[in-house]
Assembly symmetry: C2
Homo-oligomer: 147 residues x 2
Amino acid sequence: MPTLAADPTVLANRLRPVLLKLNRQLRREIHSLGVTGGQVALLVQIKQHPGIGIRKLAALERISVPGMSKFVSRLEEAGLVQRAPVEGDQRRVELRLTAAGQKVLRSVRSKRTAWLSARLHALDPDELDAIDAAIEPLLNLLEAEEA
Amino acid sequence: MPTLAADPTVLANRLRPVLLKLNRQLRREIHSLGVTGGQVALLVQIKQHPGIGIRKLAALERISVPGMSKFVSRLEEAGLVQRAPVEGDQRRVELRLTAAGQKVLRSVRSKRTAWLSARLHALDPDELDAIDAAIEPLLNLLEAEEA
DNA sequence: GGCATTTCGTTAACCAGGTTAACGAATCGG
DNA sequence: CCGATTCGTTAACCTGGTTAACGAAATGCC
């Protein structure tokens, strides 16, 4: 039974190693289609914000602009996204999924063979609920600093 | 309100981006003393298992043996850990914290200025409880595959 | 005792995922 | 029309990993 009214600093020290190890595993989830978790996240964002630019996308994903430029280049080389010039502003670029990108996204979403999905299947329903309930608070952790 | 009896695959797809972004932030938590979260985790393990070898440590942290060797080398160069020869087996090494390593660990543990700690302080008690309650299930996710 | 096998750690070479610094081109505002 | 800003790219660099190959030491066995 977890301690109620957890001390934030103590909680941080317990949470950190868990996140660390989970992400080490997730990094290896470079599954079948050759796309990493990070790349999938990018595809999702582009799908949800068609025509978005590098800069906004970088902000959404919380990485630097040059970093985003590089990742998008990789996705473009892989044929999953398309850089299109913006009408009336030749500095900007509009990003969109290609047909191949959409296909990848569809097939990834239903994938149950990925490490995380497989491990979650092994948990009890109440454990799943506990994780489920933590997702929003964890998201709030990130949104807090957008202010 | 989170969905009860969450579908593991759906939950995985919601969880992944959260973990991804959290870890991107955590990576920048290279605070004052110049040690990263991963390095702190290592120091903690060495403290809890004094005299542990590279191989076991690598298994505990779920990374490869050569990777661990490299990280330990860095920590040794930084003067935080000490490689000592093992009595009666000259292949092995025993790892121990130096005084400096213990000092770093003490000062890190109480640090409330780190990003994660600061953000957690901004959450409601019930959100903290939700996160707290999710830690064990998340750990189980990792332990499951030790079997 | 001697030799094959296994165990332990290191090194080298490589890749992904970032970062900051510097820049060039285009747009915008006075 | 010119200075300042905005957008994206490139280059150089770092951390955190990986696999492959290896050398030295210990173990098992005949």
